[in-house]
């Protein structure tokens, strides 16, 4: 028992439970909002990219390639430090808003690629079936293609969401407190890396496990088929 306390001191970690809880909540909240943004952006961009219209697919492709080819931290900095006041908002984005939007736009590029692959994997027969009963383009997408496509790529979307959640720790660079920051608090104040880092790792793993089971559930509900 003694060596375990030497390795990882539960008593010290217990003192930081409020900080970890706050960090976990912050990470969950940031990730959730960024996820919603990324899935919406991703879906729109995926559909744009598959369009035959140059005015639609070219900007979409440029967006995806630019985001994927540059580091997230720099995207966060650009949005936070150099974006002027937004006319609609009447002010500049604050730390939290900037972080969430940067994170969402970043993940959106990756999500769009996954969703596009999912859409392309849906057989023509499905589209033709929908056309034959008189559905419009948007109806076909909304009721036939997208549900199947998303169910099919759900595990890949899950993997990307795991990346998004871990990436959310980068918003600490513009001063947002989140889960990793809570771990660093233990590290900084107590100089205890095991207690800081391993607790953080366990928290991320717990979020991941929850998502894993949620994806399995969602996939069964949406009727995603194997293969």
């Amino acid at each position: 028992m003694d060596w375990i306390l030497d390795f990882y001191n539960f008593r010290v970690v217990a003192q930081y439970i409020p900080d970890f809880a706050r960090g976990l909540g912050s990470t969950a909240w940031i990730s959730l909002l960024a996820l919603v943004i990324s899935l919406s952006v991703g879906t729109v961009v995926a559909i744009m990219r598959m369009s035959a219209n140059q005015l639609l697919w070219r900007p979409a492709a440029a967006y995806v390639q630019a985001i994927r080819s540059t580091p997230l931290l720099i995207q966060i900095y650009v949005i936070y430090f150099t974006l002027p006041a937004l006319p609609l908002l009447g002010r500049r984005l604050d730390e939290l808003e900037g972080g969430i939007i940067a994170l969402g736009l970043n993940a959106g590029a990756y999500m769009s690629e996954i969703i596009r692959a999912g859409i392309e994997s849906i057989s023509r027969g499905q589209v033709e079936g929908a056309q034959s009963v008189g559905m419009t383009y948007l109806q076909r997408m909304r009721y036939v293609v997208l549900p199947q496509a998303i169910a099919r790529v759900a595990p890949t979307l899950l993997g990307q969401t795991a990346v998004l959640i871990k990436d959310s720790s980068l918003v600490s660079f513009i001063g947002v407190f989140e889960l990793f920051g809570a771990g660093l608090l233990v590290y900084n104040e107590r100089l205890m890396p095991n207690e800081g880092y391993l607790t953080v790792a366990a928290c991320y793993l717990a979020i991941y496990a929850v998502m894993l089971s949620l994806t399995g559930y969602a996939q069964r509900r949406l009727g995603g088929t194997a293969g």
Binding site: S172, F173, G175, F177, Y187, L191, P193
Partner: protein
């Protein structure tokens, strides 16, 4: 064939020896002298304490002290450059003999690491844009004012205590990111040690240093708690160079004015 066996035997011996070397560190100073190499974990936190200069050389006040140390020991110096996140593990795991950074000892930290007697005391100051109405640092300590600090630095705790009404923004990107935040009006003021702040004053003509210092931090090196001999040695060494004036010379050059800027 015999040659191969011999080589193999030698290899195994070396493996065994290295295992022994790892376990036998009752006194790391003995190991340092035996291997002829001093391994020091440093953090490139920025000028003037520790940074990479325009020639690509690692230098700064802490680095020059360590260089002098190795020379006086008569051993080679191996600088191991870590991010702050890797600094403590590097010492804990024995990758480095001690860590040389401008770390501030406190009651809790000293439970884990042994800190030397301070080799220098450094003032902490606040700075802001000249357009701000602040004069003294206390002027920034009020509701509605945001102060930027390096994430996890001792200054964060300091601000929480001295300026409880201000909004504290912690930036993970180091002192440069804090200065950037102040310049981009993302924070009304920033906090840092006086030497770093002096550097920003040159870079940003629109900045000013606020009067007074909320704190004077002691700066120490640190090592594993069981390395008593090394700790004693370092304390002795600081006393020595303080007495013969070499420490003052270095501190004057690096910490008390922009003299170093010309050379680095």
């Amino acid at each position: 064939m015999r040659k191969i066996t011999k080589l193999l035997g030698l290899g195994l011996c070396a493996l065994g020896m290295s295992a022994v070397a790892q376990s036998a560190s009752a006194d790391v100073l003995k190991d340092i002298v035996k291997r002829g190499e001093l391994r020091v974990a440093v953090q490139t936190q920025g000028p003037p304490v520790s940074f990479v200069d325009k020639n690509g050389e690692r230098t700064g006040f802490a680095i020059e002290v360590v260089k002098m140390m190795a020379k006086d020991m008569g051993v080679e110096l191996k600088l191991l450059d870590y991010d702050w996140k890797g600094l403590i593990p590097a010492v804990n795991s024995g990758k480095a003999d001690f860590l040389a950074a401008d770390m501030t000892p406190n009651a809790k930290r000293t439970l884990v690491l042994s800190f030397t007697e301070p080799y220098l005391y450094s003032d902490v100051v606040l700075y802001s844009k000249k357009s701000q109405s602040f004069v003294k640092w206390q002027d920034a300590c009020k509701g509605g004012v945001s102060i930027g600090a390096v994430q996890g630095s001792s200054n964060v705790g300091l601000l929480k205590k001295k300026c409880p009404d201000s909004t504290i923004k912690e930036f993970a990107g180091g002192g440069a990111a804090v200065a950037q935040a102040v310049a981009a009006d993302r924070a009304d003021a920033g906090i840092n040690d006086i030497a770093s702040a002096a550097g920003y004053m040159i870079e940003y003509p629109e900045f000013k240093v606020l009067d007074g210092a909320p704190k004077r931090w002691p700066l120490s090196f640190a090592t594993r708690p069981d390395e008593n001999h090394l700790l004693r040695w370092m304390d002795n060494y600081f006393m020595l160079i303080r007495n013969d004036g070499r420490l003052e010379t270095l501190a004057d050059y690096w910490m008390r004015g922009p003299t170093w800027k010309k050379d680095h």
